[in-house]
Structure formats: structure tokens, C-alpha cells
Symmetry: C2
Subunit: 171 residues, 2 copies
């Protein structure tokens, strides 16, 4: 590819894909948020944190790992983890290798909560998304979005201020 001029237009199919992505994201998030609140008194972020832990070996993860996965700031994570800890859904402990580190672990109650909420969550997703499309479409969707996700993970934030992971030593 040679013409690397930053195109500032999107063609019809790109626009369609973008608008659909935004709207689907909005609607799904909205519905999911409501369901999670209803079924388990959890926000989506909180659910993501629990689910991420549930998916981790031993149900444990480092704080920074969690912040990265859920895409929130560290202080935001501290806040959420604090809430979840107060609710008894997870526990904080020392990281074995790093004295500074904090290991967050799903408690039994947390796992139980996850088990209580997940079926309804999944049912809603099926109803909202997967029932509407065929199995082949599901694979297309997953494949394309997977590529995008991998790309996003590798692309550094374009503006100088990177506030995701590295704390910017920029003054």
C-alpha cells in the first residue's frame, strides 16, 4: 500500500458497519446493564471483573491485569474492587512474587454470584443477538471482531497522553 494519505471519509459499507457497531453496542450494553442490575445488583463493569476472575486460573488476578482487561483506570479499579470486596464477592491478598502487588481473588460468594447471574445474562444475549443471526454469521462476527480486537490491543493510543497502562512520565 502506497497512498497513506489519512482518508477522512468512510465508504457506504464502512459507515454502515460503524453505525451498526455503535448502535448495537449501545443497545446491548443498555439491556445487559439492566439485566445484571436486576438479577444480581451488579454493574456491567463489576460483572466483567467477576467474570474475568472466574476465567482466571485459581480465580486470581493482579490489579493491573484487571484494569487492563476491563479498560478502566487504576483508581477506578480500586473503587470497583473495593465495592466488590465489601460485598464479599472477592478478596484482596498479597502477590507472592511482588511485595507491592495485590492479588484479587474470587470468593465462593463471588463464584456463586457469577453462577446466579450468568444464565440470565447468557439468555439475554441469545435473545438479543444470537437468535437474530445464523451460526455462520456468528462465526463471521466473531472472526472479524477478533481481528479488530487483536489490532486494538497492539495499537498504542495515538495521542501522546497514554493513560491506560503506563503512567506517562510526560510532564
Amino acid at each position: 500500500m502506497s497512498g497513506s494519505e489519512p482518508s477522512t471519509t468512510l465508504d457506504a459499507s464502512e459507515l454502515a458497519a460503524y453505525f451498526a457497531l455503535i448502535e448495537v453496542g449501545n443497545l446491548v450494553r443498555h439491556a445487559v446493564e439492566q439485566q445484571l442490575r436486576d438479577a444480581g445488583d451488579l454493574s456491567h463493569v463489576q460483572f466483567q471483573l467477576l467474570a474475568t476472575l472466574g476465567d482466571a486460573p485459581g480465580g486470581s488476578r493482579r490489579m493491573t491485569e484487571l484494569a487492563d482487561g476491563v479498560v478502566i483506570s487504576r483508581s477506578g479499579l480500586t473503587y470497583q474492587v473495593g465495592l466488590l470486596e465489601r460485598s464479599g464477592l472477592l478478596a484482596r491478598g498479597q502477590a507472592a512474587d511482588d511485595e507491592r502487588g495485590v492479588m484479587v481473588t474470587l470468593t465462593d460468594a463471588g463464584r456463586s454470584k457469577l453462577g446466579a447471574v450468568f444464565p440470565g445474562h447468557v439468555a439475554l444475549l441469545r435473545e438479543l443477538v444470537f437468535d437474530a443471526i445464523g451460526p455462520h454469521d456468528v462465526e463471521d462476527l466473531g472472526r472479524v471482531l477478533g481481528v479488530v480486537r487483536d489490532h486494538l490491543r497492539s495499537v498504542p493510543p495515538r495521542s501522546a497522553t497514554s493513560r491506560r497502562r503506563r503512567s506517562a512520565s510526560v510532564d
Copy 2:
């Protein structure tokens, strides 16, 4: 309603698609939010409102229409429209046919702001999403998401139709 067994599991490809959708949504939203704030001092919701108006005939829409499109409550919309009106980006007026109605219209400044922000917005999207996948994938993505969106539009409650489906839980 539910003709079949309420499946509470997702198969591998469904899970993959879902997680990818969530993560891509998070990352794109995050990046977009930052760019919009940077380039035009707009939140994503505000941008969506302006863009929705910019897309409407005459640059005008009814309040409830806007709330539906952007998926926020009417009070939330009043708040956002208030902000944008104070910034001079849009104006409120009487609806012609309905004495109760409020017509929201994009001002010249609003259109100008949209023009100022859009190119960077599009460039970011291209960088984050479309550069990572081929044209064929773009069409796949748009097609599948379009189906999902149409499905979602027909399912969820409208903002003004009822106060909210509070007791719609399955049990």
C-alpha cells in the same frame, strides 16, 4: 414466546463473538471519546446527538426521537440538549404539529463543529477498525451487525412508551 428450551449456555463461537464485541466496544468507545473530547470538546453522546441531527432532514428532530436514537432517558437528553444549546450548537423550537413538542435543530455553529470533528473521528475509526480488516470483512461486519440492530430495534422498550419494564424478569 419461548418456544424452545431456554438455553443458558453459549457455544465457543458465540462466546468468542460476545467477548470480542464487548472488548472492541470498550476500546473503540474509549479511544473515540478521547478523540472527540480532544478535537471538539464533545462527549460521545453529544457527538451522537449532533450527528443524528446532521443526518436528519432540515437538521431537526423531536426530543423523543433523539432520546430513542441515542438510547438515553428523556431527562438525560434534556440535560445534554441543554448543554449543547448553551454552547450554541443547537437550538430548541416549537414543534409545528404538536404544541407540547420541542424541535431540536442544528445551528450553523453546530454544523460547523460537526464538520470540524468528523474528519478526525473518521480517521480514528479507520485506524482502529477498518485498517485492520479487509473490505470483505467490513461488509460481513456491517451485514451481521445490521441484522442484529434491526432485531434490537424491534425488541426493546421505547423511551416514552412505558415508564419501564420493571417487572419483566423471567423467573
